[in-house]
Each structure stands twice: as structure tokens, then as C-alpha cells.
């Protein structure tokens, strides 16, 4: 089992995608309520790769060189598009993304870039920052 670092700062920037949870149409209909049980696509929720030991063992952000704080269900982050001005509060309601699958991936806007996938948003949260069809956007994260 991997040992997450005890107390280090969360990164300032990240790539972010979106995921569905709770009641949903199509292939999302079996998504369920996420690791915390209460995730909903229509709420401002997010997934974080270090919500528990079991979660961390799957997502392994350390393989991409990212040391992330343990943030459990209910924690709130404040996030915005790297090139945007809208900041929203999102609540941790799931484990994810699987960071280690995408090590080194980079997303840029206006000459500014974010590397690695460290957070995912529900469609409601993502669409406050960007377009779902973009798939991935660069964001800043603060607690």
C-alpha cells in the first residue's frame, strides 16, 4: 500500500475533467453516489485523489510527482479556470481522478499551463468554469 505524505501543500494548478454521479442519463446511469455516497451531478461537487488510503492506492498522484494533502468527504476547495475569473466552491464527494494514468499531461490557456489531473468536477461545477465539450480544462485550486 502506498503511504501518502502527511502534511504538504496541495498544488496550485491542475488539469480538471468532469464526471457524472448520482441520478444520470445514459452510460452514467450506473455511476452511483461516489465514494462519499452523496455525489450528485447537479451539485457543485468534486473528486479528489487522496480521500482515503484506499482511494490513494488507486489514484497514485505520487507517481506523477504530486504530493497531495488528505482531504476527506466534505472538504471544500475553491477553484477557477486558469484563465478565468469565476471562482466556485466545490465539495469533495468522490475519489478521483486516476492521476497516475495521465502523468505529464498538460493543458494550457493564454500561455499558462497546468500539468497532471488532480481534481475532477461534476457537470454542474465544470460548467461554471468551462464547456463540457472541452473535456479537460486547466484550473487553480486553493483550500
Amino acid at each position: 500500500m502506498a503511504s501518502p505524505p502527511a502534511e504538504v501543500m496541495a498544488p496550485a494548478t491542475s488539469e480538471a475533467s468532469w464526471f457524472c454521479c448520482g441520478p444520470a442519463f445514459g452510460p452514467c446511469s450506473s455511476a452511483g453516489g461516489g465514494a462519499c455516497g452523496t455525489c450528485k451531478s447537479a451539485s457543485l461537487h468534486c473528486a479528489w485523489p487522496n480521500t482515503s488510503d484506499a482511494c490513494y492506492d488507486i489514484t497514485r498522484p505520487d507517481k506523477c510527482g504530486d504530493d497531495l494533502l488528505r482531504r476527506t468527504c466534505g472538504h471544500q476547495f475553491f477553484v477557477k479556470h486558469l484563465c478565468g475569473t469565476t471562482e466556485i466552491a466545490v465539495t469533495v464527494r468522490d475519489c478521483g481522478p486516476q492521476t497516475d494514468l495521465w502523468c505529464g499531461e498538460k493543458r494550457c490557456c493564454s500561455g499558462k499551463c497546468a500539468t497532471n489531473r488532480l481534481i475532477d468536477f461534476t457537470p454542474a461545477a465544470f460548467t461554471r468554469l468551462g464547456s463540457l465539450s472541452a473535456g479537460i480544462i486547466p484550473v487553480t485550486i486553493r483550500s
Binding site: S17, A42, T85, A125, L132, S133
Partner: protein, 202 residues
């Protein structure tokens, strides 16, 4: 434009002022990537439903109003204006919407409960998958244990390898590798038309 100002504007547009309903076009570019640039700060109760968002399936279309039943059984009326950005596999127009389509919509909730839509995404899915097989114009995908048939659409489907710019060449996709697929679900099937596939090139 601040949220309140935007809401007032959309309200006046939707509630039938004599001026043409121009919706979000008056607020700036409607390119999906830039339709969300208003300075704003949003914080809701952790499990509150976002009032300016809707999810569900279209159960009726009356003019430019979509009747949508949410997957949680909530009923939504979603108004599309000439300024609403519409996506269905690609950026398109309102007349592509059909009864049975799934959707996500972002806009401003009017006092009468109608959601005046800035953007609507029809049948959009974002799937974390593994590639099971690659055939001519088809990717067979495993999505959390469920088989998904992904159709390659000539002229539309693009691949993004390691975050590099999108290209039409899918030849670097590999069976057994993971892939993220943005696509349009074919309602009531396990098939999607692929808009973009994200993959890590070998």
C-alpha cells in the same frame, strides 16, 4: 457581467420585452470555451442542487422550450434563445434537439422557474475507458465493466495524445490502453459517437 446583472438581462429578454431576444449573444462570444467568462463567485451549500443547471432527458419540445425530466424526476423547462450555444457531437443548432435526448444545461433560472440556457450539451458523455478492440471506424471500449461501442465520425472525431493538439489520426490508439472519450450517446443504446478521444501515446 456580474451574475445579478446577467440574470436581470436574461429575465428582461425572456419575459418578452419588445426588443429581440438575443440571449447570451449580447453578453459576448458564445464559443463554448468563452461563454463562461463572466466574473463571478459561487458558493452553495455542499449538497445543494445548482439552481442554474439542469440534467435530464427531453420529454417534449414546444417551440424553443425544452421540457426535460431530470434523472431525479425533477421537471425542467429550458428556454433556448438565438444566443444559446448548443452541442450535439459538435457545435450545432437548436433544431438538432430531439425528444429522448439526454442533456446538461447551464443558464440563468428565471423567476417563473424557466432556465434560460446559455449552453446546452445534448447526449454528451465523458467516459473513462479501456480500449478492448479497434475495428474499422469503431472502438470497442470497456467502461467500468460495461461494453461501449464508440463510432468514429469522419471529419469530427479527433484524438489528443498526451495533451498535444487534437488530430484526426487515431493510429496511435492501442488495444489494452486507457482512453477518455468525449462523445454523444445514441439514446437507449450502448453506443456513442466519438468527438474526442484522449489517450497516452506509447
Amino acid at each position: 457581467m456580474e451574475s445579478l446583472g446577467r440574470r436581470k438581462f436574461l429575465t428582461s429578454a425572456v419575459l418578452g420585452s419588445a426588443t429581440a431576444v438575443v440571449g447570451a449573444t449580447a453578453l459576448g462570444s458564445l464559443a463554448p470555451e468563452t461563454a463562461f467568462a463572466q466574473e463571478d463567485n459561487w458558493m452553495l451549500e455542499p449538497d445543494a442542487i445548482d439552481p442554474d443547471f439542469a440534467e435530464g432527458r427531453i420529454t417534449g419540445i414546444k417551440g424553443t422550450m425544452l421540457m426535460v425530466t431530470g434523472s431525479d424526476r425533477t421537471f425542467h423547462r429550458i428556454l433556448l434563445t438565438s444566443g444559446t450555444s448548443v452541442w450535439k457531437l459538435r457545435n450545432t443548432t437548436f433544431d438538432e434537439a430531439e425528444v429522448g435526448d439526454g442533456l446538461y444545461a447551464r443558464g440563468a433560472r428565471m423567476p417563473d422557474g424557466v432556465l434560460a440556457a446559455d449552453a446546452v450539451w445534448l447526449n454528451i458523455v465523458n467516459l473513462q475507458t479501456h480500449i478492448v478492440a479497434i475495428n474499422r471506424d469503431v472502438l470497442h471500449l470497456d467502461h467500468h465493466g460495461h461494453r461501449i461501442v464508440g463510432h468514429v465520425v469522419t471529419g469530427t472525431t479527433a484524438a489528443v495524445y498526451n495533451g498535444t493538439p487534437a488530430i484526426s489520426d487515431l493510429s496511435l490508439l492501442q488495444v489494452g490502453k486507457h482512453a477518455q472519450v468525449i462523445g454523444a450517446w445514441r439514446p437507449d443504446t450502448n453506443e456513442v459517437d466519438i468527438a474526442t478521444v484522449y489517450a497516452a501515446a506509447a
